[in-house]
C-alpha cells in the first residue's frame, strides 16, 4: 500500500500493483490502438498514425483516421470499458463470480429490442435505440420482480436467469418472424460487431461513460463494505439498498448503451473483472482495473477478428471464444484449488 498525503489533510491510498497493472494495460491499449488505426486497405505506419492524430497528416490520411478508423476504435474502447465496469459492478452486487449481464438477461433484453426493429424494419439508429430500451426495460423488470425489502444477490441471480431464459425464447420466435433478407443483419447484430461504426454510434455511450464512470467509481468504497455482508455494511454507515439501486441502474445503463453501440459483445463483462482481479491480486471489488482490462481485451479481440482469422469476423465471435475458453480454464483451475 502506498499512501499519499497532502498538507490539506487529503490522503489517497492505493496498491502499487494496481497502479502498475493499470498503467501497463493502458499503454498496451494505446499501442494496440495505434496498430489498429494503421491497419486496413490503406496501411499506415505507427509514426504516420501518430503524426495524423496530432494534426500533421495529409487530408486523405486525416479522413481515413478520424472518420473511418478512429470511430471504430473508440467505439470498441467505450464498449469494453462499459462492459468491464458493469461486469465488475454486477459481480460485486450479486456476490457471485458468474453475475454478468450475459447470465442475468440484460443482454437478451437488448437483443429483443433490436430484433423487434429488425422484424418490422427500421433504421440503424432505431435499432440502437430499441436495443438500449430493451436492456433498460429488462433491468427494470428484473429489479421489480427481485425487489423484496431491497434487492438481494441470490434473488437477483435467479430472477435474472429466469428472465434470460424467457427472453431467449422470445428472441428465437422473433428470429422466425424476421424476413429472410434481414435475418443476416439480425445475426450479425446478435454476434456483436464493430464493423462500420461511426461517431454517431459511439456518442451516446461516450456521454454515458463520462457521467457513469466517475459516479460508479465514487461508489466503490461503499461497495467494498458490502462484501462484509449487508448488516456489517449498514453498521459501517452504508445505505445498502440505495447503493444497490444506484449501482444496478448505472450498470444496466452501461450494458444497454454498449449493446446499442456494438450489439451484445459476449463475455467481456464476465471475463474482464476476473482477469483484473488476477492481475492486480487484490481481493474483492476492482472497478477501475476491470474497466481498463475490458477496453484492452475488446480492442485486442477486434484486431484478432480482423487480422488473424479469414473473412473479417465480428468481434463478438472472438470475445465469445476467448472469454468462454478463459472461463472454462478458470473453473477447472479453481476446482483443483478447491475454491469452487
Amino acid at each position: 500500500m502506498i499512501v499519499i498525503r497532502t498538507p490539506a489533510r487529503l490522503s489517497v491510498r492505493l496498491r502499487p500493483r494496481v497502479l502498475a497493472v493499470g498503467t501497463v494495460c493502458l499503454l498496451l491499449t494505446v499501442g494496440v490502438g495505434v496498430l489498429a488505426i494503421g491497419h486496413g486497405e490503406y496501411p499506415m505506419s505507427p509514426t504516420d498514425v501518430l503524426r495524423t492524430l496530432t494534426g500533421g497528416g495529409s487530408p486523405a490520411e486525416e479522413f481515413i483516421v478520424t472518420q473511418l478508423r478512429l470511430p471504430r476504435l473508440v467505439t470498441g474502447l467505450a464498449v469494453g470499458t462499459a462492459l468491464g465496469l458493469a461486469g465488475a459492478v454486477f459481480q460485486a452486487l450479486v456476490r457471485n463470480p458468474l453475475g454478468s449481464p450475459d447470465v442475468l438477461g440484460f443482454t437478451q433484453g437488448a437483443a429483443t429490442g433490436a430484433l423487434v426493429v429488425v422484424a418490422v424494419g427500421g433504421s440503424s439508429a432505431a435499432l440502437a435505440g430499441s436495443a438500449a430500451l430493451g436492456g433498460v426495460v429488462t433491468g427494470l423488470l428484473i429489479y421489480l420482480i427481485a425487489w423484496r425489502r431491497g434487492v438481494h444477490g441470490y434473488r437477483l441471480v435467479l430472477v435474472g436467469i429466469g428472465m434470460s431464459a424467457i427472453l431467449t425464447g422470445v428472441n428465437g420466435y422473433l428470429m422466425t418472424r424476421v424476413p429472410l433478407m434481414s435475418a443476416s443483419r439480425a445475426m450479425l447484430w446478435l454476434t456483436g460487431s464493430l464493423d462500420g461504426r461511426g461517431w454517431s454510434d459511439a456518442a451516446p455511450l461516450l456521454a454515458a461513460l463520462a457521467v457513469l464512470v466517475p459516479a460508479l467509481l465514487a461508489c466503490a468504497p461503499a461497495l467494498r463494505m458490502t462484501e462484509l455482508g449487508d448488516d456489517a455494511a449498514s453498521g459501517l454507515g452504508v445505505s445498502v439498498h440505495r447503493l444497490r439501486l444506484l449501482l444496478l441502474a448505472g450498470a444496466v445503463l452501461l450494458v444497454a448503451l454498449s449493446a446499442a453501440a456494438a450489439g451484445p459483445v459476449p463475455f467481456v463483462a464476465l471475463t474482464a473483472p476476473h482477469l483484473a482481479r488476477r492481475l492486480t491480486r487484490s481481493p474483492g471489488v476492482t472497478l477501475l482495473p476491470a474497466a481498463v482490462v475490458g477496453a484492452l481485451i475488446t480492442v485486442v479481440a477486434d484486431q484478432v477478428a480482423l487480422r488473424a482469422l479469414p473473412g473479417q469476423l465480428p468481434v463478438g465471435v472472438v470475445t465469445g471464444v476467448i472469454g468462454g475458453g478463459y472461463l472454462v480454464w478458470l473453473l477447472a483451475t479453481e476446482r483443483r484449488a478447491g475454491r469452487l
Binding site: 498525503r5 449498514s234 459501517l236 454507515g237
Partner: protein, 269 residues
C-alpha cells in the same frame, strides 16, 4: 435512573406481518455493559436489529441522543453507534490489518482515504484486542476465537461510544467464549464504551453484564443489575426452567444451576 443515549420507545417490531414485539420500551444506560437475554424467538436479536437501525420499527421510535435514528444519516449514526453482526463475511483473501481498517469507513471520504488518525486508531484497536501480531495473516486462516477478536478490532476502529454485539460468542468453544467476553468487559471498563450484547448463556450474562434485560415473547420481563434481578423465579418465568440461583464462587455474581431431573430417592429442591 441513569442517563441513556440509546433506547426504544413504544416499539412495534415486525417482519412483514409477523409481529415480534408490541409496545416495547427499553433504555440502554450510558457506560453500561448491557446484555439482552431470553429464550429463542423472544425478540432479543430483533430488538438489537432495531437499536442498530437495521430494522425500521412499524411503530414507535429508536432514539439516539434524543433523535429518531431513522431520521439521522447512516454515516452519522455509524460514527456514534457500532455494530458487530452475528455472522459477518470476511472477503476472500483479505488480511487482518485490511479488515480492521474497514472500521474506519464512516470517518473517511473520497479524498480522505487514509489519514494518520486512521493509521493510529487501527493500530491501537489491534493492540487492544491482541491481534497486532496477526496484521498480515489472512482472515480465512485464523481460528474462530482469533477471527472474532479481529472483528471486534474492526468494530473498535470505528471509534463509536456505543457498540452493539449480536451473539458475539456463538460458534466459539468455551475458552474462546470467555476470552471474547473478558475482552468485552475490559473494553467496557478501560475505554468507557457502552456495550450492548445479545447472549445465549444466562451465566455469562449474569457474570459480565452491568445491566441485564430479560425478554420473553417480545416483552421485557425484568431489567436491572444482575445481582438484583436474577432469581430462581425470574429464570423460571423467562426460560421455563426450574433452577437454583447461587453465588458464583469466582465472582459472587448470580449463578444459575438447573434443577436435577427428578429421580426416585433424590430430593431436587
Amino acid at each position: 435512573m441513569s442517563t441513556s443515549r440509546l433506547g426504544g420507545d413504544g416499539l412495534r417490531l415486525a417482519y412483514d406481518r409477523r409481529v415480534v414485539a408490541e409496545d416495547l420500551t427499553v433504555a440502554v444506560p450510558d457506560r453500561s455493559f448491557t446484555v439482552i437475554i431470553g429464550p429463542n424467538a423472544c425478540g432479543k436479536s430483533t430488538l438489537l436489529r432495531a437499536l442498530s437501525r437495521l430494522l425500521r420499527p412499524a411503530a414507535g421510535a429508536v432514539l439516539l441522543d434524543g433523535t429518531d435514528i431513522h431520521r439521522l444519516p447512516a454515516r452519522a449514526v455509524a460514527r456514534t453507534l457500532g455494530l458487530l453482526p452475528q455472522s459477518p463475511i470476511a472477503p476472500d483473501g483479505i488480511d487482518v490489518a485490511e479488515l480492521v481498517a474497514r472500521g474506519r469507513y464512516p470517518h473517511q471520504g473520497l479524498l480522505r482515504q487514509w489519514s494518520r488518525d486512521d493509521e493510529r486508531i487501527v493500530a491501537e484497536s489491534m493492540a487492544a484486542t491482541g491481534v497486532d501480531d496477526l496484521g498480515d495473516r489472512l482472515v480465512d486462516e485464523l481460528s474462530g476465537g482469533q477471527r472474532q477478536r479481529v472483528w471486534l478490532a474492526m468494530a473498535l476502529a470505528q471509534q463509536t461510544p456505543l457498540l452493539l454485539l449480536d451473539e458475539p460468542t456463538t460458534y466459539l468453544d468455551i475458552a474462546h467464549q470467555i476470552e471474547v467476553l473478558d475482552l468485552c468487559a475490559r473494553l467496557h471498563e478501560e475505554q468507557g464504551r457502552t456495550l450492548v450484547a445479545v447472549l445465549h448463556d444466562l451465566n455469562h450474562a449474569a457474570r459480565y453484564a452491568t445491566h441485564l434485560i430479560a425478554m420473553r415473547g417480545g416483552r421485557v420481563v425484568a431489567a436491572g443489575e444482575p445481582r438484583r434481578i436474577v432469581t430462581a423465579e425470574l429464570v423460571e418465568e423467562v426460560f421455563g426452567l426450574p433452577c437454583r440461583v447461587i453465588d458464583d464462587p469466582e465472582t459472587g455474581t448470580p449463578l444459575v444451576v438447573p434443577a436435577a431431573r427428578a429421580r426416585a430417592g433424590t430430593v431436587t429442591r
